[in-house]
């Protein structure tokens, strides 16, 4: 028999600050093209001789991971699994700039060591003294979902009992200037929200979101992760079949879904995918989250935190409602995300 997978703890560092009980009450909609994370104080968590070498991506990851562990009251882990789209960009840029500026001489070790994508997962484990399975997925906009799928299979298969899973992405100078030049990120002078967006590109948001997953539930559990699936390419016309097959595998149908959590990003070229999926659940409440977190390859991790929060609280903060629907008890919440018409993902959460 398959074991289950429960969300026992959540940790977030984002443009809205850290995860807290009044997170959504105080959240303010993002209107800038690059939303930098509000950095908490790291001194209480990370030793001074370590902190001075860490880029913000690593620090955000460590903070969010510790928050998720603290909330769950878990200290023994069977795996640390991380998703990231762009990895430790700050140090990558620093290292490459040194290579160019100094004609491939005078290369210092620190930025090189910490420029790899798996640095965050490694530093989390190093700090915890955790020598268990440690893996980082770099799969574009399904990086987090890939990490989640790995976690789910390990927990459901009985190979692990407690797993720390999450995602991080950070904003850096040069890469984001280029992203703005090619229109992936909105220009600095464009001040649009997801609802008012009239242009291509996204408002990008950096941050980290981590979860403590466990095979056993507790009174404080947020929700159960039932299933996750990813698909690289999908035409809009294939969405219904994609959703139905996913639900069918789990012996469910569309009628059981209480709410949708959609990854609308304000990119008018591709947001029609979300509209199309919404049509399959016309009378159900539709929620969104990237207006609070910003878009990134791992923003969907924050989407899962949003869905988990809603399921646990059994209430929906007004500022995350994309489209109102009929009031029904929140039992199953379906998350859908895609980026630029690729990297489609579905995650199904159930009230625990």
């Amino acid at each position: 028999m398959k074991e289950k997978c429960f969300i026992r703890g959540i940790g977030v560092v984002s443009a809205q600050g850290i995860w807290r009980s009044d997170f959504f009450d105080e959240a303010v909609e993002i209107t800038v093209s690059k939303a930098y994370a509000e950095q908490p104080s790291y001194k209480e968590l990370i030793a001074p001789n370590m902190i001075r070498r860490m880029s913000k991506g690593i620090k955000m990851g460590i903070y969010a991971a510790q928050q998720a562990l603290d909330e769950a009251g878990v200290s023994e882990l069977d795996a640390v699994i991380t998703g990231t789209g762009l990895g430790c960009l700050e140090d990558s840029e620093k290292f490459l700039k040194n290579v160019l500026d100094n004609d491939e001489e005078f290369l210092t070790p620190t930025s090189f060591i910490q420029s790899t994508h798996n640095t965050v997962g490694a530093q989390i484990a190093l700090r915890l003294g955790c020598k268990a399975y440690n893996f980082t997925y770099v799969n574009g906009a399904v990086s987090f979902e890939s990490a989640l799928l790995d976690s789910l299979e390990q927990l459901q298969g009985g190979d692990a009992h407690s797993i720390l899973v999450g995602g991080i992405d950070e904003i850096s100078g040069h890469t984001f200037t280029l992203k703005q030049l090619i229109g992936e990120v909105k220009a600095d002078d464009v001040q649009e929200t997801i609802r008012t967006s009239n242009s291509a590109g996204v408002n990008y948001g950096e941050g980290a979101t981590f979860f403590t997953l466990s095979h056993v539930s507790s009174v404080d559990s947020y929700a159960e992760v039932v299933d996750v699936c990813v698909q690289n390419r999908l035409d809009k016309e294939e969405l219904a079949d994609f959703v139905d097959r996913f639900l069918d595998v789990n012996k469910l149908d569309r009628s059981v879904i209480s709410a949708l959590v959609l990854g609308n990003s304000g990119d008018i070229t591709y947001d029609h995918y979300f509209e199309e999926l919404g049509k399959l659940f016309e009378d159900r409440v539709q929620l969104y989250y990237k207006h609070l977190y910003g878009h990134s390859d791992i923003a969907s991790a924050f989407g899962m935190a949003t869905a988990a929060y809603v399921l646990k609280e059994q209430s929906i903060p007004e500022n995350i409602v994309w489209k109102a629907g009929k009031q029904i008890p929140l039992t199953y919440v379906l998350l859908y995300n895609q980026y630029k018409g690729r990297d489609h993902s579905l995650v199904l959460l159930k009230r625990s």
Partner: protein, 85 residues
Amino acid sequence: MEELKEELKGKIIEVLNLEDIEVSDINDDDSLFGDGLGLDSIDALELIVLLDKGYGIKLSDPKQGKAIFESINTMADFISKNRTK
């Protein structure tokens, strides 16, 4: 020499990102490694690059490093005798 020592302290703080440490917090004869500033082996590599990039000194024998990087005094002394820029 005093000017070089102050310059070195500033560069070390900047290169090693020593948060919360000011130039005035580092004494000329403080140990840079161990009980003093608490630098480690990765910092040693950064200091070797600092000597090369800032003062044109290539350390051919890494064993020299232990004596050179003992304190600001020893570093400044070595730099003033061997600098090429």
